[in-house]
Structures are given as C-alpha cells and as structure tokens.
Symmetry: C2
Subunit: 321 residues, 2 copies
C-alpha cells in the first residue's frame, strides 16, 4: 500500500470502440491522446466525502463523486473492497486530480479514460488487490454515469491495452487479442454527437442476412489480427449494420472514407459512437497521408477539427509512482 | 494430366457446418465418415454426355449430371475450363463412381462431399489447373442442386480440411483457421430434416442485442481456436439465434446437450441444418463418454441412430492415384 498523502501519477489512454464491424465487443487503445491524473490517499474526518475530485482542466465536469465517472467507478470499488478489507474507509479517502487531455464527447473513450485511470490508480494505492477483470467491472460504473449503459468496449482496452474482445458483459469476459503493428489516424470534427442519441437511432432489429455478413467480418478481423494478415484486416473492416445508420450524424463521412482508402488506409470508420473517425494503416507514411485527407476534407467543410497520428497502445493505463 | 481410362480414387470427408455460433460462415471436416469415389477420363462420341455418374450405393440418387450434385459441380468446372483450354471436352468426358458412405440428409455434408470430391478429382485428372478457391466455387453449384442455395460452409472445409471461415460468399473468401486437437462425437438420429425446411423456419430478422451476443461468441470461438484455449472454445460454443428455432425439429436435443456437457464435452449443437448433432471434446475419453450419452438418449426415445467418434480432418479431399 502507498502511504497517505503520497501522490501517484496516472496516464490513461484514449480508446477506439467497435473497430468498425465489432459493435459493442471490440476496441483498442491508442498512445495519443491520453488523460493525466494524480491520486493519493487522504485522512478524512467522519462525514467527509470518501472521494474528492479536483478538475485541473476547463471542461467543468461534475465533482460530485456519484455524478463524476471516475467517482462512480471508485465508489463501486470501495463498496466491494470494504466488505473484506483491512482498510477502514470511514477514516481514509481518495483525492483525484484529473487533467482531461481527451476532450469529453469526442468519441475516443474520454469517460472510459477517467474511470479506468481512477480504478487502476486506486488499485495501485491499495497494493493491487484486484484483477484487471475486477477493475473493468468497477470502471463500467463510470460508463453508466456517462451514457446510461454499462458497456466495456472502451474500458477493456483502456485497462488491458492492445486490442480487446468483450465476449460477454454479464458475466464479464475480456479477451486480449494480439495484433500486428498498426498506425492509427484519428480526426475529431468538433461537432456534438451524444452517445445516448447515437444509441437511440439504432434499429433494434437487423436482417439475418446482414448479421451473417457482419459476423463473417468479425471472424475475419479477429483472424486477420491474430495472423498479422493486413489485407484480411482491411477487407474485414466493413460494417453493414451500425455505420449506415450512424454515419448520417457525421458530416463528410462517406467522402472521407473514400479519400482515406484511396491513399492506402486498410480501413476504418466511426470511433465508438462518434463524432471521431479513425483509420488504420500498415505504414506510418500512409497514416500521415490519411491525416492530410482528413484535414483537407474538414477544412473544405469549414468544420473545426483536431487530428492525431498514433499507434496501438499495448500497455493500457500506466502508473508513475 | 492423367491418361484417359486411368482410374483415380477419391476420399471426401464429412463436414460439420455452422459450428454452433457461426451460422453460414464456419465449418470443419472430420475423418469419419467419408465418401469413396473413383474417377477417370473417357473418350466419348459426339452427342454423348460429358459426365457419366455411376452410383455404387443404394441411395438411388439422380444420375443426370444436372440433377446430381457431383455432376452440377463438374459442369460448372468444365464450363470455366473450356473457355481457355487445350482440352476439347466434345471428345472427352468424366466417368464418376460414387459410393456414399455419408448418408444423404444426415446433416454432415453428404452433398458437399460428392461435389467437392468430384471437382478435386477432376482437377487432379486435369493436372491441377485450379486453386482451392476455384474448386469451392465450382462445388457450390452442387450445393445449389441439393438445397437451392449456393452455400460454402460445408464445401470449404471439405476441400481445405480443418476449420474454415467463409468470410464472404460473393466474392468468395475462405480463410483456414488453425485449431488445437479436438475430438468430435456425432450422432445421426434417423429422422428426416430437409435443409430447405430447416432454412424456411428461420426468422429473417434478429434482435440487435442477440446479434451482439452472437458475434461476441464468434469472435471468442475464432480467438479460442487460434490460441488453442479449450475453455474459451467451450464458452463460445453458444448460439442464441439459430439453435433455439431449429432444435425443435430434433427430438431430445435439449436433454442431449445437458447430458453431453455434464460428461465433459466443451460444447456442441446441431450439425449444419440437422438432424445430426455434434459435440467437441478435448480428450478422446470424453468423446467416448459423450457417445454413450447419445446412445442412451436415443435408445430411450426408441429412435434408430448412428454415432461416430472421430477428430478434425486436416487434409480435406484426398486423392489416391
């Protein structure tokens, strides 16, 4: 256990959920952007809150632990730990400083980074009593605060790093998938797409023939990642179910996709529920060319935007003590 | 090229399509049962049929090449080969003897074995001008004769061997998936389930939440096979879409499933569109215990049945010249 008042630093990566064809099950972490956090144990008087959230960015996110995604994740963790613990959480608490470098609402797992960063940090302070699967479970409480749904497709890669498969949510089962070197280009057009809205426009029924196409692609993507077969990865990055519905919320989506594939991207699509869009490339040069296409398109549309050229983060949340 | 009149022998394995969660995309070949065939080139006079089918079993299958699955597959092959060929198919033809050891209608790829065996044999006689993907395409014409639909989930493993993924039918893309040692127990209860009926009772729409569960399992199964993770394979062998509908056509299905899993099977379900049922096991002893459960159940129901204990066939159709 880390002594009271001693700060640790936390780096929590952005994540891309869905990975085109793997709606609600696949995701991966990237090296840039990432959130910076600091955390420590503090003594507290009876009646004081067990969690203090300090925002050191300008997003004005709630600091009430029950309404803050990091706070909600930590509360779930404290609840489970208290049952069989030597720590008396009535006299001790967590202080968490959050510097969000991942813009909230950008669609690259901003809320997941806060939740995951907080529980990985707290676990470190506690002497790592919990498994990664436990931490994913706790952090999902943060996702519930953010979007109303306990989903793990950002949390799992944020904590595990690399590409992850959430085979099942209840009971939770996360499988780490090996992947070859992949460069990732992300563009965040500065429009608002609320996760709840992006969920509500989805059709609750799909045609069996489309579902079959989709699971052919999912199986192809998993096989392509595990074999390191770039062409197979590219061919499998196709979504016949979610993208046709959600992409209408994102200006320029179809044109951008054509342009990015034309300069050599393996494939890509909406990151999570958007508005960010990502493309995967085998070579860094291609990833940079993709970035140019993204800038050209959104400059042409007169839409403020931000781009990242990065690669897959294999470590997940990192602690610097 | 093999000289005219010289017979070759062909061994074409049974196959299990769907593999529980992978409806229309996954399948694997088994070492037992298999069809035996013989084939040769023959000279023919103008006006004589290019393909002569000789049944040496008692199933009384059609010998008209257009109505016989092996014949239909060969006709598709001849058509494509004739376009750019040195062989004049107006003076030469194929003679095919078929001894079906895989009972037609049993649900373990009986028609696929005939179609695949015929085109692999013909390709050998011709000096192997065609790729395996070409052969799968030709053989799918046999499946169309048998069930009205050009599907490849039996043909692909029959030709490639092992476990195969049909990522896409048009254009055809077959991916060979590595797999650990797996024992297979099959029971064929002697009832008739027509493939066309088994297709027609399926719902054309599925709930998105069920589709998500299904593709989690498909991704888990592919990852489990490639990692050699038996527990993951077992957990992923779950079908929430097709099995609940189709299993009502198969007497005793639910009880059998419980009994086979109770003695240690990893998992299993309907083979293709049934009526055969298969279970996978890590150990041969378990596969034999599963066979006992199958016999006990169908003896109890007073239903004639046949069982096989075998393993995954890694070679596909074999030629003995």
């Amino acid at each position: 256990m880390v002594p009271v008042n001693q700060w640790i630093k936390i780096k929590a990566p952005a994540t891309v959920a869905n990975m085109v064809c793997g709606f609600d099950i696949l995701g991966f972490a990237v090296n840039n952007p990432y959130d910076e956090m600091e955390m420590r144990f503090v003594q507290r008087a009876a009646g004081q809150a067990s969690i203090t959230i300090i925002n050191i960015d300008d997003y004005n996110l709630p600091t009430d632990p029950e309404k803050n995604v990091a706070g909600a994740a930590l509360l779930a963790m404290i609840e489970e730990y208290t049952a069989n613990s030597i720590i008396d959480f009535s006299t001790i608490g967590f202080e968490v400083k959050i510097n969000k470098l991942i813009k909230p609402g950008s669609g690259v797992g901003s809320s997941a980074a806060s939740s995951a960063g907080a529980v990985v940090g707290a676990n470190y302070l506690l002497g790592n009593p919990f498994s990664k699967d436990d931490l994913v479970r706790f952090a999902m409480n943060g996702e519930k605060v953010a979007s109303g749904v306990k989903h793990a497709d950002n949390i799992a890669p944020c904590i595990h790093g690399g590409v992850t498969l959430v085979r099942s949510i209840f009971p939770l089962e996360v499988i780490a998938l090996p992947s070859p070197t992949l460069f990732v280009t992300i563009v965040h057009p500065q429009i608002e797409v609320r996760t709840a809205d992006a969920r509500s426009i989805l059709k609750q029924n799909v045609q069996l023939k489309d579902a079959i196409k989709q699971w052919g692609n999912i199986a192809g993507l998993v096989a392509g990642l595990m074999k390191g077969d770039y062409d197979l990865i590219g061919r499998s990055l196709e979504d016949v179910i979610i993208e046709p519905v959600r992409s209408i919320l994102i200006p320029g989506f179809d044109d951008l996709k054509k342009a990015c594939k034309a300069v050599g991207a393996l494939g890509g699509g909406i990151s999570g529920s958007g508005p960010s869009i990502f493309f995967l490339s085998k070579e860094k040069e291609t990833a940079l060319a993709v970035e140019q296409e993204m800038k050209k398109l959104y400059e042409g549309l007169g839409l403020a935007h931000h781009t990242y050229v990065t690669n897959i983060n294999q470590k997940g949340v990192e602690i610097e003590a």
